[in-house]
Amino acid sequence: MAVNRLIEKMEQEVILQVRDLQYAYSDEKMALKGVDLDIRQGERIAVMGSNGAGKSTFFLNINGVLQSEHGEIFYRGQKMTKKTMNDLRKNVGIVFQDADSQIIASTVQSEVSFGPMNLKLSRNDVRDRVDEALSYMNLTDFRHRPPHYLSGGEKKRVSIADIIAMHPEIIIFDEPTAALDPVNADMLEEVLEKMAQEGKTIMISTHDVDFAYRWAERVVVFCDGKIIADDAPLAVFSNETVIRQANLKRPMMLDIFETMREKGLVKDDRSYPKNVEEFKYCI
């Protein structure tokens, strides 16, 4: 079934195509050394890799903040140049890792309105989008609060509402669970689920292998500025060389399941459980 879904996804339209992208912050060290990636409509992609592997640089590149001399980015088949960079920024949204370095306005409402205002929408449209994004993230009561009187989890929600209000086609989350408590992390996962149901294309960079295993349909592994694996989670996490090279760990669910199968405790029907619910079903 998973394979079928994957094939189904393969046939979906490609939104973003990245070809041989290279980027260097300074002359000495290359942060990206030739990256190729296709992002299709409705995909859930987990981006993994150790710190400094080039994930964040890659995100800033496909959002158009950083512009590379070498390499090409196509948005819906159209090659992006300096002039069309704003198309990229409109359609690819990034939720930054640190909410405090994203929030600039002094009330939640004006913060969320910043993106839509830059899209040069009419006042009423901006208001509608802000209302929608705030209710999506359960922030309507916080509308007039200043960000410095919000908790960490609330700030994170504001930073997500910021991006939702811009209606991008691809939403990128840069290590979203890094500073969240378990309750807020669960909240985030619910939001991600909701977005996926609505057919949004989501890309998440994370170090949490268990999360990537249960949530993603596709795992992209960065190592030293290059993509070393790009496949379904099971295939990536079963590949010992990739795991060792990228400093990853195997998901606990996968280990437990394989151990139980070796001992003959579960049926061996080649289907792997992704979460505890599916696991219960297997036994």
């Binding site: 800033l60 959002n63 158009g64 903040v65 950083l66 704003n86 920024r89 409109k90 949204g93 990034i94 930054f96 640190d98 405090d100 370095s101 994203q102 929030i103 600039i104 306005a105 002094s106 009330t107 409402q109 004006s110 913060e111 309105s113 910043f114 993106g115 839509p116 205002m117 830059n118 899209l119 006042r123 901006v126 208001r127 802000v130 007039h144 609060r145 200043p146 960000p147 410095h148 009187y149 919000l150 908790s151 609330e154 910021d162 991006i163 811009m166």
Partner: protein, 298 residues
């Protein structure tokens, strides 16, 4: 005539204090300011906090700005002690009773300008001379410190005038969050550069304070403040680190701005708050009251 105005002003002051006190008692029972997550210490934070907690926040910031400016101008133009006293009382009434700021907090905030005023006015009230002069004098060895009834009265007039002007501004700042004041400034076509700088500085003050607080805690936990010399070294290191962190953060901010289509101008959706007929009537009534007091006592 003057007598009547004096009596009226004193009665108003007494009534106001009583009402403010009663209001506070009532409020302590149903404590309503718990809606904010946390509160910072220090006066900058508390003014900001009170502005957000004020009941006058729903009023239009433009209305509040215009009203407080008119009262301030009344104070200065009329140059009359009774008008000044009336403005002080009126503003205190609006801020404390209508806005719901605890009276004691208001007094403690008022002491800041009062201290400056007091020291400033001492220089005006007293004079030095070699021979005894004025209505009151004090012999201090080689010279006399003296003052007269007129100069004392003049000083009092000056203090009330300044205090009236300050309390008008307090009314505005204690009921209007900085972002709304900035929006008003944008509305009167203040240069964009200044307005945007104000917006950003306001936001970053809190971030900087937060970062500094965390760095200091980290230093304290490692005995960085155990004696005076170490404290000085730690303070210097934190200050230089803060600069480096700010530069780095500045870069991160710029990326985050660009990612949301920033094109060199900060634009936000601003709330349009309407002015009710009652508010207009109240403002007109107050200003005409001030003018009446002025006419009666000139």
């Amino acid at each position: 005539m003057e007598r009547i105005v004096q009596i009226l002003l004193i009665t108003a002051a007494v009534l106001m204090i009583i009402q403010g006190f009663l209001h506070r008692r009532k409020h302590e029972k149903d404590h309503s300011h718990s809606s904010f997550g946390h509160k910072h210490d220090g006066s900058v934070f508390s003014i900001d906090f009170y502005a957000y907690a004020s009941r006058l926040r729903t009023w239009s910031p433009k209305y509040k700005a215009v009203f407080s400016m008119v009262c301030l101008l009344c104070c200065i133009i009329c140059d009359n002690i009774y008008v000044s006293c009336a403005v002080i009382l009126l503003m205190a009434y609006i801020t404390v009773v209508m806005g719901g700021l605890p009276f004691r907090r208001y007094l403690s905030l008022m002491t800041i300008p009062l201290v400056f005023l007091f020291f400033g006015c001492v220089a005006i009230a007293i004079g030095f001379s070699g021979s005894p002069s004025g209505d009151f004098n004090l012999h201090l060895g080689f010279f006399y410190v003296y003052t007269s009834k007129e100069s004392l009265w003049e000083t009092l007039e000056l203090i009330t005038k300044a205090l009236g002007a300050v309390s008008s501004m307090y009314m505005l700042t204690l009921s209007t969050p900085a972002s709304e004041i900035i929006a008003v400034l944008r509305g009167i076509h203040m240069p964009k550069l200044l307005v945007e700088l104000m917006n950003m500085i306001y936001r970053y003050i809190f971030l900087l304070m937060d970062t500094q607080c965390r760095m200091k805690n980290a230093a304290v936990s490692r005995l960085g403040y155990c004696d005076f010399k170490t404290s000085c070294v730690s303070f210097g290191q934190i200050a230089s680190n803060l600069l480096v962190v700010s530069l780095k953060k500045g870069n991160a901010y710029y990326h985050a701005l660009e990612a949301r289509c920033y094109d060199g101008e900060l634009r936000f959706l601003e709330e349009e708050k309407t002015v009710s007929a009652m508010q207009t009537a109240g403002a007109l009534l107050s200003v005409s009251l001030l003018l009446c007091i002025w006419r009666l006592t000139v």
